[in-house]
């Protein structure tokens, strides 16, 4: 325990480091400047700013802003990047709640109830509870990393291809079991998502699949591109034919209170706690655990709720739980990086890139060799979360006011921001066109009462499932029994099977229309 405190102490001393600044115009008087705190603040601000732009998710934001940290000293650069990361995450939820444009897989779930809350004039409480939940989850996860980082690493290493495949199967079963009234249509959407995720180059042979020699399709359809089309553009198009103006006026008239009420807080407290626990555990798994964190948290919340029918219609717990899970997972996903030096996901790979630029390549000894770096980063996570809370609670009012902009001016702006956002992710005009095409597809789906959320889920889980299945079979030389002979995998499969059996039982049938129901307006 003593170690932990001295380590955390070291971390905070790094974060709160003061640098003496002696500008010439003050005639030799030096001012102490908390450089790292300032960098964290700037990172959080810039991250929020970019993350809030529709069309730019967390990974894209971090990738985009990575070069601006290259000129800084290593510790400062990483602290700033951590700030950007959390800022982007928070900014992403803001767009999901306000305009129903999720920038990444985790926010798809936030958008379900968050956007409905916004439509009912409760955008303020939705944004605030997302910030509060995220902060709480961040605090818990930070302590968890400091306390149990090293032993938890073993969990990450115990997960091989077979285990990940089973986990993804479980994820898909979640989606099926709790899908909307027409289970059939929801399953069809998941399968369509899986099919779309097959576009691009095959992982094992490199063969180009359904890419029609379009170079931009060679690596598959981007999640952000698709989400932007199916949610963002489709929503705009639909609003245009429904007379968006009247819709929006209703929203403005309804705006009631910016902060969550005492009752909201009381209701969401257990949800935040459950989300945090679930997210912390799933986040440690490097090969895609974090992807299903927010989704699993939402499902769990619905399962334990007394009145699950509220979910999908602006239930505040449906925002609080997935947001907490998402942030906790984002935090604990640092564990493999800090203890093994191996980046578990795309954002972490960028962090490693930032370290590499400074000549530090993290490895299993990074904790011993660069304790200031590791603990500084852990401490900065907490500080970053605190800052986001401080920045975002006052911002809630501004965001909510944004909703009062007349829709006739709002929608062309969203179109332009989305275009620039998608384009700037990879400087590829084709991505913008693909998003436009999926906007029309999304419009068609709405007209036929198909929901885009399960589609996006299938799209995210598809490659993870296929790749891990194939890896597992390659390693086992085609022996399918690995999925049940490896204990962890067997447990996951058993849970999946149980859920499936339960799903067939008619008693559960009623509950199905609850998770992916989005709105009836």
């Amino acid at each position: 325990m003593g170690d932990i405190f001295s380590n955390l102490g070291l971390g905070f001393s790094v974060v709160f480091q003061f640098v003496q600044w002696t500008p010439a115009f003050l005639g030799g008087v030096s001012i102490p400047i908390p450089v790292n705190i300032l960098l964290c603040l700037i990172g959080a601000l810039v991250g929020t700013l970019v993350g809030v732009l529709p069309g730019i998710g967390t990974i894209a934001t971090v990738a985009m802003l990575l070069p601006i940290t290259f000129g800084l000293p290593p510790v400062g650069a990483l602290i700033m990047l951590a700030g950007i990361y959390y800022g982007a995450q928070y900014g992403g939820s803001t767009t999901s709640i306000l305009v129903n444009i999720p920038g990444e897989a985790g926010s798809v779930v936030t958008a379900l109830d968050g956007f409905q809350m916004a439509k009912k004039g409760r955008a303020g409480p939705a944004l605030a509870i997302a910030a509060i939940g995220s902060f709480f989850a961040g605090c818990v996860a930070t302590v968890l990393i400091a306390l149990l980082g090293a032993p938890l690493t073993r969990v990450a290493l115990a997960f091989g291809p077979a285990e990940y495949f089973s986990l993804m199967v479980l994820g898909l079963i979640f989606a099926v079991v709790l899908a909307k009234g027409s289970v059939l249509k929801a399953i069809a959407m998941i399968v369509l998502g899986l099919l779309l995720s097959m576009v691009g180059s095959d992982i094992e042979t490199g063969a180009s699949r359904m890419a029609f020699n379009i170079p931009e399709l060679a690596d598959g359809l981007g999640f952000a591109t698709l989400a932007m089309g199916l949610f963002g553009f489709a929503e705009i198009i639909r609003n245009l034919d429904a007379g968006g103006e009247t819709d929006r006026k209703l929203v403005q008239e309804k705006v009631s209170g910016l902060m969550p009420t005492r009752r909201d807080l009381k209701e969401t407290a257990p949800a935040i706690l459950r989300g945090t626990v679930l997210g912390s555990i799933l986040g440690i798994l490097p090969g895609g655990g974090a992807v299903i964190a927010s989704f699993a948290a939402y499902t769990l919340e619905k399962k334990v709720a007394k009145d699950p029918s509220k979910f999908g219609h602006g239930e505040i717990r449906g925002v609080a739980a997935p947001e907490s899970a998402n942030n906790a997972a984002a935090q604990t996903s640092f564990i493999p990086l800090l203890t093994l030096g191996i980046p578990p996901n795309a954002v972490m790979a960028l962090m490693v890139g930032a370290m590499t630029i400074h000549g530090i390549v993290p490895g299993p000894q990074v904790m011993q060799k660069q304790p200031d770096l590791v603990w500084g980063m852990i401490a900065s996570m907490w500080v970053g979360n605190l800052m986001l809370l401080i920045i975002n609670l006052p911002l809630v009012g501004i965001w909510v006011r944004l909703l009062r902009v007349p829709y006739r001016l709002m929608f062309p702006s969203i179109v332009v921001f989305c275009c620039i956002g998608i384009y700037s992710v990879n400087n590829a005009p084709t991505d913008v066109m693909i998003a436009g095409a999926f906007g029309l597809v999304g419009y068609w789906l709405i007209k036929h009462d198909f929901e885009p959320a399960p589609l996006l889920l299938g799209m995210v889980l598809g490659p993870l499932m296929e790749e891990n299945l194939r890896r597992a079979l390659l390693i086992s030389r085609g022996d399918w029994s690995v999925f049940v002979t490896r204990p962890l995998s067997a447990v996951l499969m058993a849970i999946a099977a149980t859920l499936l059996i339960l799903a067939v039982l008619p008693s559960l049938r009623k509950k199905r229309d609850e998770v992916f129901v989005e709105s009836e307006n």
Binding site: P67, P161, P215, A218, P286
Partner: protein, 327 residues
Amino acid sequence: MNRYGRSLASGFLALLGGLGVSSSQALAQAYPTRNITMIVPFAAGGPTDVIARIVTGHMAQTLGQTIIIENVVGAGGTTATTRAARAANDGYTLITGHMGTHAASVPLYPKLAYHPEKDFEPVGLLAGTPILILARKDFAPKDLKEFIAYVKANESKVNAAHAGVGSVSNVSCELLNSVLGVKPIGVPFNGTGPAMNALVAGQVDYMCDQIVNAVPQINGGTIKAYAVATPERNPSLPNVPTTAEAGLPAFQAQAWNAIFAPKGTPPDVVTKLNAAIVKALDDEGVRKRLLELGSVIPPAADRTPAALGTLVKSEIAKWTPVVKPVN
């Protein structure tokens, strides 16, 4: 504001000047008069990106213009390289290519939309990253000789990880396997991170990878290295023998990185750029940062555009029999 003002001003100047005075000579003498775009065909923070940023940072000082790095990711770097091949050949769009984009891509993608030799002017070699033969820490063979014997004897049992079709780790492992005359099962991962994770966790047996990613893991004892596939040992891993020392001289591989310009870029522009590269590679600060990454800095004789042209030709010849085409 600087950039905006300058491009605006030069735009008006060009308009006023009747747009006609741009003979290639007049252009080249003044070159560069505006920002240069450097396309990097990989994600920010990857080995190629890091080397490109270190060197272009110094080149920008020499040339007196900003060099904007544009990371364009996709299809093993060939998306970006195709774009660079089609860019204006005025010296304002350059690309940092590497072993994959400008050599192994030729046999790998039969439908490649560019040819490294026909569509590009070689400008100059930047730095190379040596390839290591790595294995999980409890893999039975103790040294390279035992490894060769073991892999040959257990060809159907061993698993070789790689970071995706066409990646450096994939292509160099294909070379190793063809030198050894074995065809083990290749287990594909999405990038070097997950592949390294599987190696550390002991889920796969061996892999080939660039030195940058592997040094800390080797020093930390989570994986082991049999040999480095360069003629000389690397200062960051003094205890790891070269393949020649350890008994496999035929396996030589280095992930080299170099700057190319679209075909038809004026020769004096290329000369100017090459001089800036050479100057950067002689700079103490640049050298120090490159060496920290385990990179190998090319000797003076290898830094000319002509030498790069020869390297590309020989590398294409080297990879063609080894790399299987994808369709």
